[in-house]
C-alpha cells in the first residue's frame, strides 16, 4: 500500500523532470542571425567595425541590476548595427569569481575591472591580452595620461578606462544652508570654520557611516586618501600607494590625525545618528541620510551617493541634497581629485572582442551611456550636455578640468592584503578608539614583503 503511493510519487517527479527538460530545451531563444546593418544611415558611426557580425562577446562585470540594464541599452545600437552579440553578466561576487573562472579556464572575453591592482595581477600572470592597436589609439585619444597609467602594466596598455566616479565630494542640504545663510566653503579652513558655526547653532556638522558588510571601513580609507592628497600632494600619495614610503610615515600620521580631528571629534559627529563609535556601526548607505533630515550638516561621500537618497529627494543645487567639491588644503598643490572607475580588460583577442573593446573606449559609447542617466566617464569626448544629473554635471566638470590632478582610490591600488583587508580593518578599529600610531603600525605590518 505504502509502496504504491511511493511509486506514484516517483512517477510524478519523473514526469516533472521530463516536463521541465522539455520546457528548458524548447525555451531556446529565437536565433536572430542579423547580418548587421552597417550600410544603413543610422549605423554610419560604426562603419569601421566590419567583419564581426554573428560573433559573440561575453562580458563579466561587477555592475549589475538597473545599471547593467542601462549599459546594455547603451551598446544596443552598436550591437544591432555590427551584428555582434554581447552577452553581459554582472555579479556582486565579481572579484573573487573572476579569479576562479580565469583559473578554471572559464574566463569571459572582456571584464570590467574596477581595481587596477587586479588588472595588474592578471596582466602579469599572462592571462590578460594587451589591448590591440585600434583600442590603444582610441584610448590614448580619449583619456588623460593620469587615467591610462592605471590601465597600463609594464609599458603596455591592458585596459581602457570605462566609467568613472568622483569621490572628493561633500554632500549637504542646500535648503538648510539657505535657511541658515551658510555658504558653501571653498577652502579647507572655511569648511572647518563652517563646522564650528554649525556646532554653535547646535547642529552636529558631520555624519558618516563606514559599515559595508565584509568591506566595512572603506569609506574611512577614502577620507584618509582624500586628505593625504590635499595635505601632501600627488607625489607623496603615489609613494604611499606603491609603498615607497612606509604606511606609518609621519606624513600619513599627520593626514590621519587631520581626518581624526573631524571623524573622531565628539563635537562634530555623528549628526543624527550618535557618537563617534556609531560611525562604525552605521552602514555607508545610511551614513548620510541625516543630511536631508537636517540633523547633520555635511557628509563626505562619492558622487554615486546620489542614488542613496530616499525617493522624492531633489538632488540639485537648489534642492534637498547636493554636493560640493571637498576643498583643497593648499591651493598651490592644484585641485586634487580622488576617484575610481572600471577598466575594460580582454582575456581573448579575437577581432570581435577587440572591436567591442575599442567601441567601449570611444566617445560614442560614453555619450550613449551618459544620455541614459546616472553615469559619467573621464572620456574627453563626453559632452556635458548629455549628462542630465546636476551632480554628474559637476563631476564631469571636475574630471575634465585641466587643473585637476586625478588619483585613483589608493586602497584599490594597494595589494589586496592591505587595500581590501587590513586598511579597512585598521580604520574600523581606529574609529572604535585605537590611536593613530597603533593603527598605522598595524597596517604597515601587514604589507606583503
Amino acid at each position: 500500500m505504502a509502496s504504491h503511493r511511493q511509486r506514484r510519487l516517483l512517477a510524478f517527479s519523473g514526469a516533472v523532470v521530463m516536463a521541465l527538460t522539455v520546457a528548458a530545451c524548447g525555451g531556446g531563444e529565437s536565433d536572430n542571425t542579423s547580418e548587421g546593418k552597417l550600410d544603413t544611415p543610422e549605423c554610419a558611426a560604426y562603419k569601421d567595425y566590419t567583419g564581426i557580425s554573428g560573433e559573440t562577446v561575453t562580458i563579466y562585470s561587477p555592475i549589475r541590476d538597473a545599471e547593467a540594464g542601462l549599459l546594455e541599452d547603451a551598446w544596443k545600437t552598436f550591437a544591432d548595427c555590427t551584428g555582434v552579440k554581447i552577452e553581459y553578466e554582472g555579479s556582486g561576487e565579481f572579484e573573487a569569481q573572476l579569479k576562479v573562472r580565469v583559473e578554471g579556464g572559464d574566463a569571459p572575453d572582456l571584464a570590467f575591472i574596477p581595481q587596477p591592482g587586479l588588472l595588474e595581477f592578471f596582466a602579469k600572470g599572462g592571462k590578460l591580452k594587451a589591448a590591440g592597436e585600434k583600442t590603444k589609439a582610441m584610448a590614448t585619444q580619449n583619456f588623460s595620461p593620469d587615467w591610462l597609467k592605471y590601465g597600463t602594466v609594464n609599458g603596455s596598455l591592458y585596459g581602457a578606462p570605462l566609467g568613472a566616479n568622483v569621490k572628493s565630494f561633500v554632500w549637504y542640504s542646500p535648503s538648510l544652508f539657505k535657511e541658515k545663510g551658510w555658504k558653501v566653503p571653498t577652502t579647507w579652513d572655511e569648511m572647518i570654520k563652517l563646522s564650528d558655526t554649525m556646532v554653535a547653532a547646535n547642529l552636529k556638522p558631520w555624519c558618516a557611516g563606514i559599515g559595508s558588510q565584509d568591506a566595512t571601513g572603506w569609506p574611512a580609507t577614502d577620507w584618509i586618501e582624500d586628505v593625504l592628497l590635499r595635505e601632501q600632494g600627488p607625489d607623496v600619495y603615489d609613494q604611499w600607494v606603491t609603498h615607497a614610503i612606509p604606511f606609518n610615515d609621519p606624513r600619513i600620521v599627520s593626514a590621519t590625525d587631520r581626518v581624526g580631528s573631524i571623524l573622531k571629534n565628539e563635537k562634530y559627529v555623528n549628526g543624527g545618528i550618535g557618537g563617534v563609535k556609531s560611525i562604525a556601526t552605521t552602514t555607508f548607505q545610511d551614513g548620510g541620510l541625516p543630511v536631508v533630515q537636517k540633523k547633520c550638516g555635511m557628509h563626505r561621500q562619492a558622487s554615486f551617493y546620489a542614488n542613496q537618497w530616499p525617493k522624492g529627494t531633489k538632488v540639485a543645487e537648489d534642492g534637498d541634497a547636493f554636493a560640493f567639491y571637498l576643498p583643497a588644503i593648499d591651493p598651490a598643490k592644484g585641485k586634487p581629485v580622488l576617484g575610481g572607475g572600471e577598466f575594460v580588460g580582454a582575456f581573448t583577442d579575437t577581432p570581435a572582442v577587440q572591436a567591442v573593446q575599442t567601441y567601449l573606449a570611444s566617445p560614442d559609447f560614453a555619450n550613449s551611456r551618459a544620455k541614459l542617466n546616472n553615469w559619467i566617464s573621464a572620456n574627453k569626448g563626453l559632452d556635458v550636455a548629455n549628462v542630465s544629473n546636476p551632480i554628474d554635471k559637476v563631476a564631469v566638470g571636475i574630471l575634465q578640468d585641466s587643473g585637476a590632478v586625478f588619483r585613483f582610490d589608493g586602497s584599490d591600488l594597494m595589494p589586496a592584503a592591505v587595500g581590501a583587508n587590513s586598511f579597512w580593518k585598521g580604520m574600523t578599529n581606529w574609529i572604535n578608539g585605537t590611536d593613530t600610531k597603533a593603527t598605522l603600525d598595524f597596517i604597515e605590518g601587514t604589507w606583503p614583503k
Binding site: 528548458a24 549589475r64 553578466e89 554582472g90 576562479v100 572559464d106 530616499p310
Partner: protein
Amino acid sequence: MSTGTETIVAAPDAEVPPTVGGRVRKKLTSRTASAVSLVIALLWTVPTIGVLVSSIRPENEIKSNGWWNFFANPQFTLENYEQVLFGSRSASGGLAGYFINSLVITIPSVLFPLAFCALAAYALAWTRFRGRDWVYIGIFALQIVPLQMALIPLLSFFNYGVSLGGVQLLPAWDLDGPAKFITVWFAHTCFALPLGIFLLHNFMAELPGDLVEAAKVDGASHSKIFRSVVLPLIVPALASFAIFQFLWVWNDLLVALIFAGGPKNAPLTVRLAELAGNRGNEWQRLTAAAFVSIIVPLTVFLSLQRYFVRGLLAGSVKG
C-alpha cells in the same frame, strides 16, 4: 549511552515508566514543556514574520523604520512583489524565469545523488568484496574535504579536460548555453555523494540480515533484492536525504555562480544576490524576493516533514 542515562535518571519513584524513552516522552508531554516549546516556536518565527510584513510595505517605509511599525501604521503595497517577479531584464526582478532555472537545476541534482547513493550504499552494506570497509572509510573521510577546495579543479576539469604530462586523458566538455546545466548537476552530485552514501549506508546496514538472507534463499539476485526488499524499507531515509539535498541545492549560491555560466542559466539565489542593486540601494526588494524563493522549500519541507522526522529518528535512536 543508554545505560549511563539510566543510572542518572533512575530515581526511586513509584510511577517510573519502564524505559528511558518512556520517561523522556512523559517529561516532554508535560504542560510546561509544551508551553516552552510554543514560546521557542514563536521566537523562531518572529524574524520570518518580520520579513513577510516588510515585503508588503512601501519602499520609503521599509527604508525609514522597522517592520513592527506596520501594526501601528499599516500601509500595504504589492509593488515589491510586482517589481521582483515581473520587472524587466537586468533592472529589477524577472524572478519568474530564474524560478524555472532553479527547478531545472535542483530536481536532477536531487535525483542523481539519490540514485547513486542508494546503489553505492547497498553495495557497501550487502555485497562482500575485498577492501569494502576501506572503500567505505575512504568515502566517509571525503566528507571533510571542503567543497570550496574542489571548485577550481572541477572547473578546469570541465573546461580543459584531464591531461597528465602533456597527454590528454579526457577531453574538455565544451558545453555551451543550456548544456551548462549538466556541469551544475555534475558538481552538485559529486558534492552530495559522501554524505549521502554515509547516511544511507548506516540505515541499510541496520536492516535485519534475515530479510536479505531469505530473499537470497528464494533465489533473488542483488538487483531484485535491492528493488523489492531494500528500497521499500529505506524510503524514510531516502526522503530525509532528498529533503536535505533539495534544501542545500535550492539555497546554493556558490556552485551555481561558478558552474552555471552566465545569467541565462542562473538560479534564483544568483539573481537574489544581485537584486539589491549595484551599491545595495535597492534593498527594499530583498524581502519580497526572499519570500518568493522560500515558497518552494517550504512546501517541500511541509509536505515531506513526516518522512523527515521518521528518517532522522530511525537512523539515530534505535535499540
